[in-house]
């Protein structure tokens, strides 16, 4: 424990200072936003009321947290216990992701002091109402799913027993809520057929959002594992990550098929040939998010190395982020009749939130039992150990 602390203190000074600067700038921007209003801090306008915060902080934030429910369903519902060692980091990331999304939402909302209105003033015909309830309920579920790590640390045995007893109902609730939440973020755009550009507007957009979130859930677990290995010298079983890579390939292929069918179905293939900015960014999104990861993950020599797996996942995440930005910004500009680029304060708040996420994650890894399983689970980790050694030695040859 002490060694890790020293390591953190000495080695990551550069990143620490970057983090401090980013969070400092974000604090300044947040003060301006709350003191003088959204207009003083952002480039948002009456014609373009949703910008970077909705596009990145909310849409990407929620999507990137999809690793939590993806892994929970693999381990608890499908009972593939081999993946158990990575459930906790995935849940932690999802929980942190949701807390940061709520934080970002409080900055973006005009009246954050009234967020509780959604609890008592209902409009079930609104997708935003569904989104609000999904955020609230799923954050609660994530908190409960994550609570064993805390209870273990505090040695609270009774609450620990209670939470463990309701694991399965919790996991089922979590999977359902996530499915609803991921898809409903896409459903938000169903109402703007005349504003969202034809390359992205489809009645299937909730399905696309859900499928891409599943894919990126796997990618995020691979990335987190790789980065944690470098920063904290704690890493996850490589064969598990390999299998996640295989699941990603499957999901990417499903996405490609569904999107091609959708394009043919809607008769908008001609849009692919129109030379305009939307077309170029659409191609970039497809190449980064689907094509390159598919190719990289199909080549055995790349797929079976940590670095290859990491880059394939990282590029997939870039493509995912571009997809959400395209839906929320690129695709909405022409239909809204204005152009939008975020102000430096909008960007600084987004970067500050990302930096905050890294800080909290590293604290949690330091002080809570995230990568090492609790005593009763050690058994399964050990069982798995031999195959890890085999794989690793095989790869090094």
């Amino acid at each position: 424990m002490l060694n890790i602390k020293n390591l953190l203190n000495s080695k990551i000074t550069f990143w620490k200072s970057v983090g401090i600067i980013l969070i400092g700038l974000a604090v300044y921007s947040i003060i301006v936003r709350f003191a003088y209003g959204l207009g003083a801090a952002t480039n948002l306008s009456d014609e373009f009321p949703w910008g970077l915060w909705i596009g990145f902080d909310i849409l990407c934030g929620v999507g990137l947290a999809a690793g939590g429910f993806t892994l929970c369903s693999i381990v608890y519902i499908f009972n593939i216990k081999d993946f158990k060692p990575i459930v906790r980091p995935a849940i932690l990331t999802a929980f942190l992701g949701y807390l940061l999304v709520i934080f970002a939402l409080m900055i973006d909302l005009g009246r954050p002091d009234r967020i509780w209105h959604a609890l008592i003033m209902w409009n079930p015909r609104s997708v935003m109402f569904e989104v609000a309830w999904c955020v609230m309920l799923y954050t609660t579920v994530l908190a409960l799913e994550f609570s064993p790590a805390l209870f273990e640390r505090l040695k609270w045995t009774t609450p620990l027993k209670i939470v463990k007893a309701i694991t399965i109902p919790l996991v089922i609730a979590g999977v359902l809520l996530s499915t609803l939440h991921q898809s409903s973020l896409g459903s938000l755009y169903l109402i703007v057929p005349n504003k969202l550009y034809g390359l992205w507007y489809s009645s299937l957009i909730p399905v696309f959002f859900f499928l891409s979130a599943l894919t990126i859930g796997c990618a995020m677990v691979i990335i987190e594992s790789y980065l944690s290995a470098r920063a904290f010298k704690k890493q996850l079983e490589f064969p598990l990550l390999l299998r996640l890579g295989q699941i990603m390939v499957m999901l990417i292929m499903v996405q490609i098929v569904v999107r091609i069918i959708d394009f043919i179905d809607r008769g908008v293939l001609n849009l692919l040939l129109i030379p305009r900015i939307e077309t170029y960014l659409f191609y970039l999104e497809i190449i980064l998010g689907l094509f390159i990861p598919l190719v990289l993950l199909s080549i055995k020599n790349i797929r079976t190395t940590r670095i290859g797996l990491f880059y394939a996942s990282f590029i997939a995440v870039l493509g995912f982020v571009l997809n959400r930005m395209n839906v929320s910004i690129t695709g909405m500009e022409a239909g809204s009749g204005v152009s939008y680029f975020p102000s430096w304060m909008e960007i600084s708040i987004t970067l500050g939130i990302v930096a905050l996420g890294f800080v909290i994650f590293s604290f949690a890894v330091k002080y809570l039992n995230i990568f090492e399983e609790s005593a009763e689970d050690e058994h399964s980790v050990k069982e798995f150990a031999p195959s890890k050694i085999n794989y690793n030695t095989a790869l090094e040859d």
Binding site: G110, N123, R125, L176, L188, P193
Partner: protein
């Protein structure tokens, strides 16, 4: 009270701005000159193709803003007005994002921001009066009345001079129909109107997704539970079989020993 409506005849408007001033007085808005809708201008008169075109909330019959608001801060009155209730609003701005006519304006520079838009002078029309803008019009470019009457009037005006008027009543069918309707002698697309909106009621688009939630939850929940039960049972069976084998082999060993 019956559904009301406003008819605006673009050919008659002389751009005198009387409606704009009357609106500002009625709604206690500062008397500043404005060319675009804003938080202090619920209606403006724009100039396109040497015609004067008034902008204001269209008061949709199937209001998008009402359907998307998570806290139900909009309501649709039986007179046809779409009214915003600031005390409920949480400031998510989904109404602005979703409005096909880009009408709602936001108090961007306020610490406690609200949406601002035309109220169809609801406080006047419930008393049987006309809206302030219609009352102020000196040249009969805009009419207020029962929706069916003003629609009939619009049709008659067009059929009386078919060579002059474009044979299209803007707002009769757009996004399922609007309370404010326009007629013109210059094609609407040249006057800054959105002519690609279609006739579908936009709230139906989201409802088609939202209405699937209950079945998704029940079917999904059952399915997930079922899968868990099967995989869990399989594990239990394997465990039991292993124990059985152990027992059996123990028995055989014991038998061997006793033999």
């Amino acid at each position: 009270m019956a559904q009301k409506g406003i008819l605006i005849d673009i050919t008659k408007c002389i751009g005198c701005q009387q409606c704009v001033s009357a609106c500002k007085i009625q709604n206690n808005l500062p008397d500043t000159e404005e060319t675009k809708l804003s938080i202090t201008a619920y209606t403006v008169v724009e100039e396109h193709e040497e015609r004067y075109v008034r902008r204001l909330c269209m008061h949709c019959k199937y209001p998008t803003c009402e359907s998307v608001c998570p806290v139900g801060a909009f309501n649709h009155t039986k007179e046809g007005a779409v009214i915003y209730h600031a005390e409920k609003c949480i400031g998510c701005r989904y109404c602005m994002m979703a409005c096909p006519f880009q009408i709602p304006r936001y108090e961007w520079m306020s610490r406690t921001p609200k949406i601002q838009k035309c109220k169809l002078c609801i406080e006047k029309i419930v008393k049987g009066e006309k809206t302030a803008c219609v009352e102020a019009c000196p040249v009969e470019a805009t009419f207020f009345g029962n929706y069916n009457d003003i629609l009939k009037m619009a049709r008659q005006t067009i059929s009386a001079e078919p060579d002059k008027y474009v044979n299209h009543i803007y707002g009769e069918n757009e996004v399922g129909g609007t309370t404010v309707i326009f007629i013109t002698d210059v094609p609407f697309e040249k006057l800054g109107f959105k002519t690609n909106l279609g006739t579908q009621k936009l709230p139906e688009l989201t409802w088609s997704a939202l209405s699937k939630i209950p079945s998704l939850v029940t079917v999904g929940g059952t399915l997930l539970y079922g899968i868990w039960w099967i995989t869990n049972r399989r594990k239990e069976v394997i465990e039991i079989e292993r124990k059985m084998k152990e027992l059996q082999s123990n028995k055989i060993e014991e038998e061997d020993k006793s033999a």
